[in-house]
Structures are given as C-alpha cells and as structure tokens.
C-alpha cells in the first residue's frame, strides 16, 4: 500500500511494440496500489482546476461590453444545457445535484450581476468570477443547507469560465465508453458524478492510501493506483495497463500485461464467493463483517456473506440535511439495516460529523483545524441532546429486530468519555456499549477504557493520521499515511494488550480500511484482533488469504511487521511470506 523509493521516479523503458506515440511507448509509472485489479483500457484525463482570472481583469481592447455580455450569456446557457443533458443519464441524488446546478448555471440573478460588472468594464471571466463569489458568500452566510450549496455555485462558475476560455469543463470527463480515469486527485464532490459503469480504474498523481480516491475505489471495487507522479501528463486515449495491487502502470501494454489482465478476470470470478465463515487454516475463527452506510449496503453485504455489520455509519441519516432527523425517521433508517442481519451482530457507530464530514447544524466550518476539532463524540460537548436522541432511536429500532445491536462512539480520547458514553447507552436501554479507537490516547489507555465498555473497534484511517501527524488527504505524505506503519501496528498491539489486562479479554475489532488489505488482515489477526470489518467487496479476498495461514504463522508475521524499519519494509516482508497474494494478483 505504500510507495517505496523507486516509486518516486519514472522509469522509462522501450517496448518492442510499435506505437503512434513513440515518446510514451512502454513508459512505466509507479505509485501506491490502493485497490487490487489488473486491467487494460484507454484513459481520459481529468482537466486541471480552472485558474482564477487576474484580479481586476478588464475587457480586452476592442471588445464591446455588449459582445462580452452575449458571450457570457451563451456560456451560461451552454453550461446549463450540458449539465441538464448529464442529469438525464444520472440517477438518485446525483441527478438532483446536477438538475439544481444546471439551474444555477443560467440563473438570472447570477447572470445579471455579471453583466453589470461587464458593463463597468470587467472581462467576462472576471465578472462571472466575482458575481458568483458574492452569491456564494451570501449563501454561506445563510448557513445550513444554503451554505453547502455555495460549493455548487463555485463549481458552476468554474464551468462557465472554462466555457468562455474554450477549455474542457472541470470535473470527471464524460464519455459513452468505459475508460480509465486519470487525474491529480478526486474530491468528495466528484463521487456524485463518478459512474462506476463507465470508469474501469482510477489512477492519480497525488493522494495517498487514505485519500478519497482510494476510499471510493475500494468501495466500488475499481483497481486504483495513487501518488503515481507524472501520470496526469498522459494524453486522452492513451492505452495503459494498471496493476492496482503492485501500484504500477504501463503505457502501451505488451503481451505479458494482456495475459495478466485476462488472468485477473478469472481471479475476480473465483474470488466473488465468500462462504460466510472467516477462519485461518488451523480453524481459528475470525468473523468477517462489513462496513455499511445504509439499508441498501446492508442487503448487499448480507448477500456477499458478511457475518454481520462491524461498522454502520449513521451519517447517511444526517448528511445533506440542515436539521436533525426526527427519532421516527432514524428508527426507520436503522431498522432497514438491522432487518438485513437477523441473529447477527450489527455495530452502530453514533454520528461521526466534523472534519471531512461537516454537518451544518452540528459542526463549525470555520475551525482552523477540523481534524483536531469538535468532531465525532465531541459534538456532544457543543450540541448536547443529539447523541441522546440518536441512542433512543437506535434502542427503539433494536427493540423489534432479531439483530444483536452493539453501539459505539467515534473519536473517544479518554476513559472518562468512554464511561460517560456507556452511561448514555445504559440510560437508553442499550446493553452493549463500545468505543472506537482512533485517537492514539485511546489505544494507550485501552485497559482503562475497557473497564467501562464491552468492546473496542480500531478505526485505522484516523488512528494512522493521528499517530503519524499526517493529514490523510495529502499526497506528499502518502508514505507516512499507511496503517502498515510499525507505530500504528504498535498502537493496535497495545489496544489488544489493554483488553487482555485485568482479564477483560473483551473483543477488539478493526473497521478501518486496513482490514480490507488481505496481507494486513493477516498481521491484524496475528496481533490479536478478534474480528475484521470491511467493504463487502473485500470479504472474499481477505477470507482466501486468511485461510492460507495458521495462527502461529500470523503471529510470526505480525512480529516481523512490528519491528520493521519502515512501513514499506513491513509490507514487503509480510507480502514475501504470503505467496498466495501473487497467485491471486492481490
């Protein structure tokens, strides 16, 4: 999952194969493989972000304001037409976003404000830039739902400026035929327009293993390589081979790559099945659960053989709203998930708003450092009551279902917080309280925390970013930001040790992205983790690799990883001892 030294350089080799583009023939790129899969396809490059027109940019000499206004109106109309056409092909929430942004593109208020600026001598680009900025600020100041729409106005603005300049619109390119998407990095907003039926694989020049690109790729089961420097310089239509496990890309693939891509097709078919019992070769049981974000996900996860839900993200109930959902609405939403897993464990994580998941009625968007701010459980300090009502809703939903409902709080830092949360659960009638271990302080004090709660679940994405002091969205820090870091593994070991202390021996699960990496899953089990929860797509691959080792072997691999010199070494050493990974192309 992590780039080694060589991954920073671009190795140029010559291929014997003829190509129309000699300069790129056989060229290879190396990055960080974040989602396995070997595939060949032609690329489309995500256009660069639109650059701001110079402040105070005036109309070019000889351009009449009337003509510039006509050009602006035409550009606004063109963007509206384009977005409307795309909305027809979209569905659900994506469609609504596109329909609303289409209306904004040609909005009379916005266009009139821009035309007024043009009449005063501003260039069309600068006029729409400033007019949209005022509207966005107005929406931002209204707060709540409106504040979120400010981003849409700025998106529309970029599109109009791109149209005026005659350059491609920003965002994910649109095509009728499936393609490999190449870009610098994907933003959360791009996910709304990413059509998994059209995109074969994701390759980015920036971003890390925890970036949005990586998370989206794993959720959609798309092969992906991130931090492949230089790859965004390739031109549209270039045919490349992508290996999402090895993290390599080859331009104009040869017969070897064609064979690998064919073999991967066979492997995915074979890996599509998980028998519903996670176990090691020696029979040691490791329940494999799924992370889900709603009833639809839960039904899919159950069909994929998940042994329960290790992480129910409850944000789905809250996101995109400007007020708190009612208890009745919440009960209905949670019950949909519980009903998919009768007799099985469903771990509900209470609302995890803040940082990269802001919620207008709970979090303060102006915090200078949101990752270290009021997020997760901490929103209970500033908006008391929301958590209690959510627990009440969970308890009501749990009442008439057959699922075993466990509840956990995110972003717990101290045993005192764990105790308080357990108290709230007890008051709501919820019998199995737990907490997430994402903050290093929680890993270090796991023993005290487990005096108050019945289980802990390691959220490795945040645990890694906090342990390594490395923002998970930053490409240059990708090498630091991997759960293969020996320091992160030490924190996991300490958490397990905390559970064994004083004879607690309470369950320690993992529900971060780490559990979906089959090699790392072996290490986690070796460290004493009792269950793994992951995206449903990863279940079969993780199960296949776990079944190839015994518990003592897993413990030995864990010991090697713990004492490795670097994350790269830890990963390499472990992968070398798991030959099944290469056989399966994982």
């Amino acid at each position: 999952m992590v780039g080694n030294k060589e991954s920073r350089t671009i190795v140029q080799t010559l291929s014997g194969k003829a190509s129309s583009d000699q300069a790129e023939t056989g060229r290879t790129f190396s990055g960080v493989g974040v989602s396995p899969g070997r595939i060949i396809g032609s690329i489309l490059v995500m256009p660069q972000a639109v650059q701001e027109p110079a402040v105070g940019e005036r109309l070019a000499e000889g351009t009449a304001p009337e003509d510039a206004s006509i050009a602006l109106r035409a550009a606004a109309k063109a963007v509206q037409t384009n977005l409307t056409a795309r909305s027809v092909g979209a569905s659900g929430a994506g469609r609504e976003v596109l329909e609303a942004t289409a209306l904004m593109a040609n909005d009379p208020m916005l266009v009139k404000a821009a035309v007024k600026l043009i009449t005063n001598g501003a260039s069309a680009e600068r006029a729409i830039w400033d007019a949209a900025a005022s509207v966005a600020e107005m929406l931002h100041n209204l707060g709540g739902y409106m504040a979120e729409r400010a981003t849409d106005v700025l998106d529309v603005r970029s599109r109009i400026v791109a149209e005026l300049r005659g350059v491609p619109a920003p965002g994910i390119p649109y095509s009728d035929t499936p393609f490999i998407l190449v870009g610098e990095d994907l933003a959360p907003a791009d996910t709304a327009t990413l059509d998994p039926a059209k995109v074969l694989a994701l390759v980015t020049s920036s971003g890390g293993p925890q970036s949005h690109t990586a998370i989206i790729a794993r959720a959609l089961g798309l092969p992906a390589v991130v931090a492949a420097a230089g790859v965004d310089g390739l031109s549209d239509g270039t045919v490349i081979f992508v290996d999402g496990a090895a993290g390599t890309i080859r331009v104009d693939p040869g017969t070897d790559e064609v064979a690998l891509a064919k073999a991967w097709e066979t492997t995915t078919a074979a890996l599509a099945v998980f028998d519903g019992t996670g176990r090691l070769q020696d029979g040691h049981l490791v329940p494999l659960l799924s992370n889900v974000g709603g009833a639809k996900d839960a039904v899919k996860a159950a069909a994929a053989g998940a042994q329960g839900v290790g992480l129910l993200r409850t944000e789905f109930c809250f996101l995109g709203r400007d007020t708190e959902p009612t208890i009745t609405e919440q009960v209905e939403a949670y019950r949909g998930v519980f009903d998919a897993f009768p007799g099985k464990k469903v771990v509900v994580r209470t609302l995890d708003a803040g940082a990269d998941k802001p919620l207008p009625f709970l979090t303060d968007a102006s915090e200078p450092n949101p990752a270290l701010g009021v997020r997760g459980y901490r929103t209970d300090f500033t908006s008391p009551g929301v958590l209690e009502r959510q627990l009440e809703a969970i308890a009501q939903a749990a009442d008439d279902t057959e699922a075993q409902v466990w509840v956990m709080a995110p972003m717990i830092s101290t045993a005192e917080e764990a105790e308080h949360f357990a108290g709230l659960c007890a008051a709501a009638g919820l019998t199995t309280p737990g907490v997430m271990v994402e903050v290093p302080s929680a890993a270090l004090t796991a023993s005290s925390i487990l005096e108050h709660v019945d289980f802990v679940s390691l959220g490795t994405n945040d645990l890694t970013q906090y342990a390594m002091a490395a923002d998970r969205q930053l490409g240059p820090l990708a090498a630091l930001n991997t759960p293969w870091q020996p320091a992160v593994l030490q924190l996991i070991r300490l958490t397990v040790a905390g559970s064994h202390d004083q004879g607690h021996d309470k369950p320690v699960g993992v529900c971060g992205e780490a559990a979906a990496d089959p090699a790392l899953a072996v290490v986690l089990v070796g460290l004493g983790v009792s269950s793994l929860s992951m995206t449903a797509r990863a279940l079969s691959a993780v199960a296949a690799v776990l079944a190839s080792v015994t518990l003592p072997e897993a413990q030995q691999l864990a010991a090697l990883a713990l004492t490795a010199n670097s994350a790269t070494d830890a990963r390499r050493i472990v992968r070398e001892k798991l030959p099944i990974l290469n056989t399966l192309g994982l």
Binding site: E96, A100, L103, D107, P108, V135, L139, R149, V153
Partner: protein, 92 residues
C-alpha cells in the same frame, strides 16, 4: 398587478428539489413573476425565476410567501404556481 399568497407545503421548505421544480415552472411562463415573504414590501421582492434568489429567500415549511405578476394571463399563471408551492413536492 396580480397577487397571490401561498403557504409552503414541502417539508424541506422552498429549496433543493421543490425550489428547482418551482423555478422551472416560472421559467416556462411568458411573464415576470416576483416572490417575497409575506409582510415584506413589494419592492424587495425577488425574481421568482432565479433559483439562487429563491434559495436566499429562505422560506421554510409553513411560511407564507407572496407572488406577484403583471400582464395577460397573470391570474391563471399565479394560480398554477400557488398550486405547486402548496404541494409537498419533496414527498413525490
């Protein structure tokens, strides 16, 4: 000048999808229609064909708004718009 009042029926208020449907309907009329919160002076009324203006109005479920238009067919046009506002568009 024709004038109508309407009580916003959509649970989410007059934004998101309901606002989009309303603006699209106004856009199809050959008239200039304005919208204001009840009690606000007519000169502060906003262009009802602008989704951004409608959003900045901030009308919530249960709020009363005033629609105004001039010209031939204004009465019928406003009646049809009132019908849209008084339907819970979010539920459909």
């Amino acid at each position: 000048m024709s004038e109508r009042t309407a009580v916003i029926a959509s649970r989410v208020g007059l934004h998101a999808r309901p606002a989009g449907i309303f603006v699209a309907a106004v856009g199809e009329l050959p008239l200039e229609v304005t919208i204001a919160m009840a009690g606000e002076p007519a000169e502060d009324a906003m262009d009802a064909s602008s989704i951004l203006s409608i959003m900045s109005l901030g009308a919530s479920n249960g709020d009363t708004v005033v629609l105004r238009a001039d010209g031939e067919g204004a009465d019928e046009a406003l009646d049809s718009l009132v019908k849209i506002l008084e339907t819970d568009l979010d539920a459909e």
